[in-house]
Amino acid sequence: MARKLMKGCEAIAEAAVRAGCRFFAGYPITPQNEIPEYFARRLPEVGGVFVQGESEVASVNMVYGAAAAGTRSMTSSSSPGIALKSEGISYCAAARIPIVYANISRGGPGVGAIQPAQQDYFQATKASGNGGFEMLVLAPSTVQEAVDLTYAAFDYADRDRNPVLILADGVIGTMMEPVELPPMKTDEEVAAIKASKAAWACTGHKLDYANRAWIQPGQWNTAIMQQENEKAAALYASWEKDIQVEEYQVEDAEVVIAAYGVCARIGKSVVDICRAQGKKVGLIRPITVHPFPYKSFDHINYDVCKGVLDVEMSIPAQLVQDVDLGVKGRCPIETCLCSGGNIMSREAVLEAVDAILAK
């Protein structure tokens, strides 16, 4: 298939449309405005609906409603906007409604900076809202991967009846790169996906309380509430099989870089530069940041590894806490960090690698 130069945000939106997404509601915020802009133009062409809501809260709740009616639905925002959507996301998780949403993250905390950052890691992976629910969180490091993961996200969401988060930093969202797009689902396929949800979706059928989507905001019977949470916990535990990770030249590495998103691609090029100089450097790149590929850190040869280098655009570091759980004290962990909208420097990563090698 011919490749096409696309901006990350636009590629995410096109991948969603091709996956059968027919409803999008959002509210503007940099650096993700190209996602709603693209949907606004594209969805009417395929019989879908785009709404610019009056706020983030309104938008996420529109998506909640559309997805509860069985339509593949999506929203997106950037860090402070995602925080505003957290209530609706938690409600979707409680009601077991399959939605896909993207966080094209920027500097923080607060309104932060409009430039790229990776400061929403804990929010994305640990607590995207109240109540301790979990989601598959997918973190692309190229525009192609953003396309592939978005396309797959809708299948995961429907399979699990659960929200799925695309966690992309502002670099991946705003940069352009050649992509090959996945096939466009036909109108028949899109209709079949919707029909497959008839058992639970709110599509106007006769009352069937046992199977209907539970879209009430609370459950006052504590025994039932606990049962629902136990079912959810069993679902989350089943995600071990969905873990995606790239392990690059790890086996003999004296330094292993741990990074996701844009920092991971920068890290990968650092591995190549170092290997060309005879330095034994590797990379572990979580693609699913939740669930996290802790076991990949068992593949490091701790007899030769002098240290793991956590590279992320967040100060203080966040990813490092999951890296620590993977390394389990078997070697030192160092960090290479920037924050507040500054983009990771390859030179800085190279220097940090050299500093560990010199030990």
């Binding site: 130069l5 900076a113 409009i114 705003t174 352009m176 790169e177 691609r265 990968k268 090029s269 190549d272």
Partner: protein, 182 residues
């Protein structure tokens, strides 16, 4: 082989389009990897604008490099800001209509000059200065076949066919200027 290019100027000088034309042409007609990264911030609206294009035979890690192989500056402030990022032996392309050549305080880089603001005005449309500069860059570096770049511009302007002759003239003029300084 990886080439890191930074294009910088005022908002409105078409620096983003220049970078995108180059990235699109590379995507459409070669099997090389390419990235385009625009840099923008609230303070840059109406101020300076810049973008980064990386073209490589291999994997592209950093879409925004620390050290540039080539630098195109369209205005004075961009020279001050980005000249320190140009590598030793790198090539600096300046819009000599408004960038003061005497402010180039490095003798370890190659200098390519093109008075693109004046040339564009002579052609009757100030907006084509970026296409002239794109021609200069492609003519000088031969980073990609000029015919491919032109067909990309043609494609992008398909909805505005009236602009094609002027852009063709601008691109050819740039190529000529770039080749002459090789």
């Amino acid at each position: 082989m990886e080439t890191n290019l930074c294009v910088a100027g005022f908002g409105g000088q078409g620096v983003m389009s220049l970078g995108k034309f180059l990235a699109s042409a590379t995507c459409d007609a070669t099997d090389k990897n390419v990235t385009f990264f625009p840099s923008y911030g609230a303070e840059q609206r109406g101020g300076t604008a810049n973008c980064f294009v990386v073209i490589s035979d291999g994997y592209i890690g950093a879409p925004l490099g620390d050290v540039m192989d080539d630098l195109i500056v369209m205005n004075g402030p961009s020279l001050t800001k980005f000249l320190p990022t140009l590598k030793q032996g790198g090539t600096l392309f300046i819009n000599s209509s408004i960038v003061d050549e005497t402010k180039v305080d490095r003798d370890d880089v190659k200098l390519v000059k093109a008075p693109v603001t004046e040339l564009a005005l002579e052609m009757g449309n100030a907006k084509v200065l970026n296409v002239i500069m794109l021609g200069v860059y492609v003519g000088y570096t031969e980073v990609i076949d000029p015919a491919i770049v032109w067909s990309t511009i043609e494609h992008k302007l398909a909805s505005k066919p009236k602009l094609l002759p002027l852009n063709k003239q601008a691109f050819e003029k740039g190529l000529e200027l770039g080749r002459a300084q090789r």
